[in-house]
Symmetry: C2
Subunit: 344 residues, 2 copies
């Protein structure tokens, strides 16, 4: 770890006071109300072009920036959409989705703020988010309960949208049911004639919200067939994969769904090193359709996942904010399909 030394520096002159709209009004020779009308671009009040210009010039000269919090206190609500930051590493898929969402919301004049959720859980987190008085809250994952939704709404949030496996009372739900991902993988392996199917479940904490429904999806796909599922806990480490591969023959499996492509690549490498034929002895399939899976030999089969478009989600948020009394909407938004390559 690189160290930052604790340096104690000489002090330089103190900071100037923060300029206020009253300072702008004084310099421009207008009222504070006029400053507010001009800088908030209010169309309700007619203000002459020279006055507008004078206000803008004074604001620029003083370096005046409006205070979002003061503005939201006046307006009674903010334009802030709060989205807890994911606490697990996110892949390029999520990253693209989130960028698109930001773009779309900023075009609708919302400000997207991501809030660290480290160390906070469920309804406790909701109270902390509520302090920022967001106009809407998007909550990925699970953990928020009806109480948390109520806290947010009582604090002025007009819309609470969950992105997760299940509906929460009072909130709009974008159902992202990872059950489907496992179901796709399981159905594919059964259709390929496999019957003794291992399911890798990461040992890392925080991933259960994806891994549990994926496992359930495999079980659902196997239901009514003569195929069986064996749960295989696995840490994302080479040594752990090597240990699992070393006892692979005793497990007597003919296929494995490995949670996602990263775990699949890790396990496939270890199985190949152990002399297990892929797909002949064991078929392997991952999920997420990472580019790197195509670089392996054999090429990795995977489940491709589709997220909703950021623009659609932004429109849902805007609709919900404008109609806070409307009944919560529920949409299934996770698409999944098998990409069959050489490993299965």
């Amino acid at each position: 770890m690189v160290q930052i030394p604790k340096q104690s520096a000489p002090t330089s002159p103190a900071q100037r006071p923060v300029p206020t709209s009253a300072d702008v009004a004084r310099l421009a020779g207008v009222s504070r109300a006029t400053v507010s009308y001009v800088l908030n671009n209010t169309s309700a009040v007619r203000i002459s072009e020279p006055t507008r210009r004078r206000v803008h010039e004074a604001a620029k000269e003083l370096g005046y920036v409006p205070h979002a919090a003061a503005r939201s206190l006046r307006a009674g609500h903010s334009r802030m959409v709060l989205m807890p930051a994911p606490s697990v590493p996110v892949g390029p898929l999520y990253s693209q989705f989130f960028n698109e969402l930001q773009w779309a919301l900023s075009r609708l004049d919302y400000t997207v703020v991501q809030y660290g959720s480290v160390g906070l859980h469920g309804d406790e987190a909701a109270s902390v988010w509520a302090e920022l008085r967001p106009v809407a809250v998007l909550v990925p994952g699970s953990g928020l309960g009806p109480q948390g939704v109520a806290v947010l709404k009582r604090s002025g949030a007009r819309a609470v949208v969950t992105l997760g496996p299940e509906r929460v009372e009072g909130a709009h739900a974008l159902l992202m049911d990872h059950d489907r991902v496992g179901h796709c993988a399981g159905a594919h392996l059964v259709a390929r004639g496999r019957r003794r199917i291992g399911v890798v479940v990461p040992e890392e904490t925080g991933l259960e919200i994806f891994s549990k429904p994926r496992l359930e999806g495999v079980r659902r796909a196997l239901h009514g067939t003569d195929a069986s599922a064996t749960v295989l806990p696995l840490a994302y480490e080479e040594e752990a994969a090597a240990r699992l591969a070393a006892r692979w023959r005793s497990l007597d499996l003919d296929a494995v769904f490995a949670y996602n492509d990263e775990y699949a690549m890790l396990l496939m490498r270890a199985l190949l090193d152990e002399g297990i034929g892929i797909p002949d002895d064991t078929a392997v399939i991952g999920a997420d359709d990472l580019m790197l899976g195509r670089l392996l030999r054999p090429r990795l089969s995977t489940v491709h996942i589709e997220l909703p478009s950021g623009r659609d989600l932004a429109e849902l948020v805007d609709r919900a904010v404008r109609e806070p009394g409307a009944a919560p909407e529920t949409h299934e938004v996770l698409g999944a399909r098998v990409v069959h390559r050489d490993s299965s």
Copy 2:
């Protein structure tokens, strides 16, 4: 893309008004000041345990949550540390660093807010950030200039810290010079006897802030030797890698530093498919030390990167907030070392 239908839902009863501290005071039978003292845990004022309990019970019954913005307006500044969210996908390394930073700052009673920076650049972004009146701003990457720093400071930010390749006037600088990464890779290849060295530069936009200094670092390592560097633009796509590999022999290179492990894996696969021997014909080295690089055969050589600890950075922020007049500190915080495996 999964579509969200535009549903128009029946309306349900309107929302209740947001409870205020005045409501809590009324229900608890105390003054607003007492409510404020109790809920902000002020130690300066003695308040009896029964009164404290009454205030907490009233707040709970009403579902009252303090308004962070109102509190910061009263206090004249907030405890909000604002950090623009990266607009490019971040790997597990950055993700871990950021989680650690959040933890450390929250222990020092700061609130970390990540702000979407999509579509905003440099000093223009600074004005938007300033509206939130953060007490400190951490700016990754480059783009913020001295003007932007001044705007943030005039709006009450006591500390601006940049994490990037160079110092910006008025801001504390954590220098993360990716030049070092390229220098490590270049020096390693020269030491291994290679002389005609390709340097992959991603064609994807947004990565220049890393790829340009990495390229410069290679050039610096080659300076004074008889080795030469050839720039190889590459898009992160299998077809682009195959095209580059197809003309590899005509390029007459005996080594390549491929920007990072992902590009290295992509290119190495294409070179192997083209029958190029690795490392005999061409040595390959990446950067970032991803686990997946160890899964390939030959195992990928890489440059391991060390970021500063989140705790150290949190302490720097806290020190800077407490001494806003102190001269800006500058620290070199990026560590880099070669991990030599089989591909080079």
